[in-house]
């Protein structure tokens, strides 16, 4: 028994020793900084105590921000904010957007987060739907209502836009030169057979901003046309990445030549010195990146101060940093921007071509993602095989006037473009409920009760696979005709 306790105590001894070790490290390397911080904290505590006693409100204390933004961006803002309000300590926690949402949802019972700060408006919609955002409307002046055709702030006031971004195409100049390819200008250029195997994009289910690009295409060209265009672009993909940053990463490395990316990935890659270029096509949507106060935020006042700070001229200017490069929402800031910096408030060609219907997009959000994954992400190899057969047939056809072959090729193309679902059904609110996550009451799903998402997807998958292989056959028949 004694031995048992000895081993146990040794174990704890090691544990405590290791813990002390940690503080040893701290004291050795961080003593000065920590002391200063600690003193500051104690001071702040005292001051805030007195302030509290005299019921005055002071700009002090802590501020906890959960963000999907990289350190290059969040760090700059944190430093600038702390310089302006030296009594507030900002704690930035970086998480992927999806992980951030899960984190805030899971921790809401005991919330310690003040602000959620991320790009995709749909992420904020999810939080808003779960009643996890508190209303706040900033009083900072000079911010317009719209950027492109998209409202900068949430109309209901739950989150605030502080920067804008739009999708475009980014390419690696060395790659294009080595492969003798021109840089694309419009989305449809990427459907050209010369780009076969040279392009890439991230899946809309993985990245809210990619989703908006797909949705913009669907709204700009119509549901059926838009999907057809999307698929003919996708057939050229070398890859559909799971992370949105996977696309600029691949283009920067030269893994593939052209990628569909959000502007700041392209602009900041240029800013970091990579041999890449970036262009906005005519059909693009400018979307605000947002920030919102979390319900029951422990430091709500500081959270609101931070939002105000983002919108002030000094906050907006930080966005122009070569490693950040996002479009400010304050039109005056552009006066300080570098020469070739795009200005959506002046250049009306950016992001104004499509009148973006937010409600339509919201209603079929998950369905569009799922449809994209079933038809493109998970079946990319099949799609590519079908398209490559069609390309071969077209090449052989050339300028020949063979009506039968032409017809077969057109049929093959139609098979590839065909959708397993009609537009009406895709927009049907009842059908979309199959793809929503929370269905507490049975009456929520009356019409399609008992239909499961997995079931629907399996059906789609069968349809899509069947069509792709039929398309290959048609194309091969066409080749035989020639």
């Amino acid at each position: 028994m004694i031995d048992f306790y000895r081993i146990l105590s040794q174990f704890f001894f090691y544990l405590t020793k290791l813990t002390c070790f940690r503080f040893d490290f701290l004291t050795k390397y961080k003593l000065k900084k920590l002391m200063r911080k600690k003193m500051k904290k104690i001071l702040i505590l005292f001051i805030s105590f007195f302030m509290f006693a005299s019921s005055a409100v002071a700009n002090s204390g802590n501020l906890v921000i959960v963000t999907s933004f990289p350190k290059d961006l969040s760090g700059k803002f944190k430093a600038a904010f702390e310089t302006k309000y030296p009594n507030i300590t900002v704690e930035v926690v970086g998480k992927k957007t999806t992980a951030g949402i899960k984190y805030i949802q899971e921790t809401s019972s005991n919330n310690g987060t003040d602000l959620f700060w991320a790009s995709a408006p749909d992420a904020f919609e999810v939080l808003k739907g779960d009643n996890l955002l508190a209303k706040y409307t900033s009083q900072v002046k000079g911010i317009p209502k719209l950027v492109g055709s998209y409202p900068i702030n949430d109309p209901e006031g739950f989150y605030t836009g502080f920067a804008a971004a739009g999708y475009g195409m980014m390419w690696n100049t060395r790659y294009l030169k080595a492969n003798n390819l021109p840089a694309p200008k419009e989305w449809i250029d990427m459907a050209d057979s010369i780009y076969f195997g040279h392009t890439g994009m991230s899946a809309p289910s993985r990245s809210g901003t990619t989703h908006l690009t797909v949705e913009t295409l669907l709204q700009g060209d119509g549901f059926n046309e838009g999907w057809g265009k999307m698929k003919s672009i996708a057939a050229n993909f070398k890859t559909v990445t799971a992370r949105s940053f996977g696309v600029p990463d691949g283009v920067n490395s030269g893994d593939f030549g052209v990628g569909i990316v959000i502007d700041f990935f392209g602009l900041s890659s240029i800013g970091s010195g990579f041999p890449v270029g970036f262009v906005y096509p005519t059909v693009t949507t400018l979307v605000p990146a947002n920030i919102g106060v979390i319900t029951n935020a422990p430091n709500e006042k500081n959270a609101q101060l931070f939002i105000d700070f983002l919108l002030t001229p000094e906050g907006q200017e930080i966005l122009l940093d070569p490693k950040i490069r996002r479009l400010p929402v304050n039109p005056e800031t552009y006066a300080k921007a570098p020469k070739d910096f795009p200005n959506p408030f002046k250049d009306s060609s950016i992001g104004a071509a499509v009148k973006f219907d937010v409600q339509l997009s919201k209603g079929r959000y998950n369905l569009v993602n799922s449809l994209f994954d079933v038809m493109i992400t998970y079946r990319l190899d099949d799609l590519r095989a079908a398209m490559s057969a069609i390309y071969k047939a077209e090449e052989k056809l050339g300028n020949k006037n063979n009506a039968k072959a032409k017809k077969l090729i057109a049929e093959a193309k139609a098979l590839v473009a065909a959708l397993p679902i009609t537009e009406a059904k895709a927009n049907d609110a009842e059908f979309n409920k199959i793809f929503k996550k929370k269905r507490k009451k049975a009456k929520d799903i009356e019409k399609y009760a008992g239909t499961r998402q997995a079931e629907v997807e399996a059906e789609w998958d069968k349809f899509v696979i069947g069509n792709y292989s039929k398309a290959i056959k048609k194309a091969e028949e066409a080749i035989k005709e020639l």
């Binding site: 390397y29 906890v64 999810v126 970091s272």
Partner: protein, 559 residues
């Protein structure tokens, strides 16, 4: 009386630990897979799984990739293990340590480095294309996954094999030799069977890891495998489709089945050796031509498996590396960021060493209980601990948040889930299987007669542990520690859910946050390289300790 009480209470303690920190959090997440749309119990979701062509194809792909990776990993591991432990091979300690490094592939940077080297426009293919006009699709499709996974995980086989070989009692070999056995016969009849437990342990680990691995297929954008399918479904924005969790359950079940099959393969045979002569096999000298051939093979393999780290080094010193064989220019700027943020390194060292220590202690007791006692449910302990291997880190992270967030720490009223020690625990739970397999393999080779005779001489359990088992198992324990420690240093998927402040974040998290920007690639690589160096030095030192121990026991006889 005492013996039973001690072991039973230990078993109970371990069971409780696994229940609280593994089973409950997983259950919190997985029960979703048994619910229908109205929240009632159903098995329909599993029916859907087997109805979906994509899922079946994914299952097949995962199985194929995992099996092929075991084969390719064995091709890498066998020569390294055999040459270095069988022959007097100069630098065998260095080679054995270096062979361990591929396991430490920092998240994101590792993949970027691999792509820059082996990708379709990576250095190798650019050179091939320039000189010979063709390219090799190293990184395309399922074969790409197999290639990367077997480079990444072959050390599991290597380490376990080396431990086994070093534990072979040399008297076995000597008696076989004196009975006239030699050459291949000796290898087949003595060396091969005796090293089987180590090989099977390593191979099953490789199989499991590859089967469940998420990072590699995701970064190679291969979606038609089970783990990526589960991940993509769980982590899509605003959607909570039960299929993700169903796939998770299927992953866990398959992994448990794999462990069971590995057990069956070893079952019914006694691999223990009465006399713990140690020292491993008799070391031989090479014939001259053999020597050059062996060095050649070893260096080719080493070059291949270390190439990701060579690329990582280039990346961390390079300025811009894009569509070219090597970076445009070199700089040390990126390391400045590392030294300005050294807190990440300290955190990682602290978290991972505590976690690995917990792992070794738990693994020692679990393998003892499983192999040496008759406590009811002891096998279950093993399976539950091993199942951690099959739980996607993301799922475990979410489970921890669900389970521990509503509990507050008594002293400062912050949630338990955001306490830094929870990161240590989640790392320990996730890496426990590694330490467990290592302990299991060594303990299997120690004859239980040693303990029984000590017991009959009146020794207590504790002194048996201290004087017999622990010294004899040092190699295995240390191997377990190093494996757990070093793989924990690059763990990201589970910890990213739990990190609540940047000042308490580990290294992998820093790499992640740097790798999300175009300008962060260099600093990210620099962080990755520092992590790799720490692990490399640690491994080398522990190798030295093991070597020294054998020397002290006077086992340096040369034949």
């Amino acid at each position: 009386m005492f013996k039973n009480f001690f072991l039973k209470s230990t078993a109970l303690f371990i069971a409780l630990f696994l229940l609280i920190f593994l089973a409950v959090p997983i259950f919190q997440v997985f029960y979703v897979s048994f619910l229908d749309q109205n929240g009632h119990f159903t098995l329909l979701n599993f029916y859907d799984f087997f109805q979906n062509a994509l899922f079946i194809e994914s299952f097949y792909n995962s199985f194929y990739v995992a099996s092929m990776s075991v084969v390719l990993a064995s091709v890498f591991a066998l020569p390294l293990a055999y040459f270095t432990s069988r022959f007097n091979f100069r630098g065998s300690v260095i080679i054995q340590s270096l062979g361990f490094i591929p396991l430490i592939m920092p998240p994101f940077v590792g993949a970027v480095a691999m792509k820059l080297l082996f990708g379709s426009n990576g250095s190798i293919n650019l050179i091939l294309n320039d000189w010979f006009g063709f390219k090799i699709p190293f990184m395309e499709g399922l074969n790409g996954v197999i290639f990367v996974e077997s480079i990444h995980y072959f050390p599991f086989i290597l380490i376990n094999l080396i431990t086994s070989l070093n534990n072979i009692d040399r008297t076995m070999e000597e008696s076989a030799q004196s009975l006239g056995s030699k050459g291949f016969g000796l290898f087949r009849r003595i060396v091969l069977p005796l090293s089987m437990p180590g090989y099977v342990a390593g191979a099953s680990l490789v199989f499991l890891k590859v089967f469940d691995d998420l990072g590699t297929p995701l970064l190679l954008d291969v979606n038609n495998m089970l783990a990526p399918q589960a991940y993509l479904r769980i982590s899509s924005i605003g959607i909570n489709d039960p299929m993700g969790y169903v796939i998770g359950v299927i992953l866990v079940l398959t992994s448990i089945a794999a462990v069971y099959v590995a057990k069956l393969a070893l079952g019914g045979k006694d691999y223990s050796m009465l006399q713990k002569g140690g020292g491993g096999m008799i070391k031989r000298d090479f014939l001259p031509y053999q020597k050059y051939l062996a060095y050649f093979v070893v260096f080719v393999i080493l070059f291949l498996v270390l190439s990701p780290h060579i690329a990582l080094t280039l990346l961390s010193f390079g300025t811009i590396w894009s569509f070219s064989v090597i970076p445009d220019a070199f700089t040390v700027q990126h390391y400045k960021a590392v030294f300005e943020n050294s807190v990440f390194i300290k955190n990682t060292m602290l978290y991972c060493s505590i976690a690995a220590f917990i792992d070794v202690v738990l693994a020692f007791f679990i393998s003892y209980i499983v192999l040496r006692t008759k406590i009811i449910g002891r096998q279950l302990l093993d399976y539950i601990a091993m199942s951690a291997l099959a739980i996607p880190g993301l799922v475990l992270g979410i489970g921890y948040l669900r389970t521990f967030y509503s509990i507050n720490l008594p002293w400062d009223n912050t949630p338990l889930a955001s306490w830094w020690f929870m990161i240590v625990i989640i790392l320990a739970v996730r890496r426990l299987p590694y330490a467990l397999r290592a302990c299991n393999a060594v303990l299997m080779q120690i004859s239980k007669y040693l303990e029984e005779s000590a017991e009959s001489l009146g020794a207590q359990k504790i002194s048996i542990f201290r004087k017999i088992l622990i010294p004899l198992m040092t190699g295995g324990l240390l191997a377990g520690f190093i494996t757990s420690f070093s793989t924990a240093t690059v763990e990201l998927s589970a910890t990213i859910m739990l990190v609540s402040t940047e000042s308490e974040a580990p290294l992998a998290y820093a790499i992640y946050s740097y790798m999300q920007t175009a300008a962060g690639r260099g600093p990210g690589a620099a962080f990755g390289l520092i992590g790799v160096l720490i692990v490399a030095i640690g491994t080398y030192l522990s190798q030295l300790i093991i070597e020294k121990k054998y020397k002290q026991r006077g086992m340096e006889a040369k034949v």
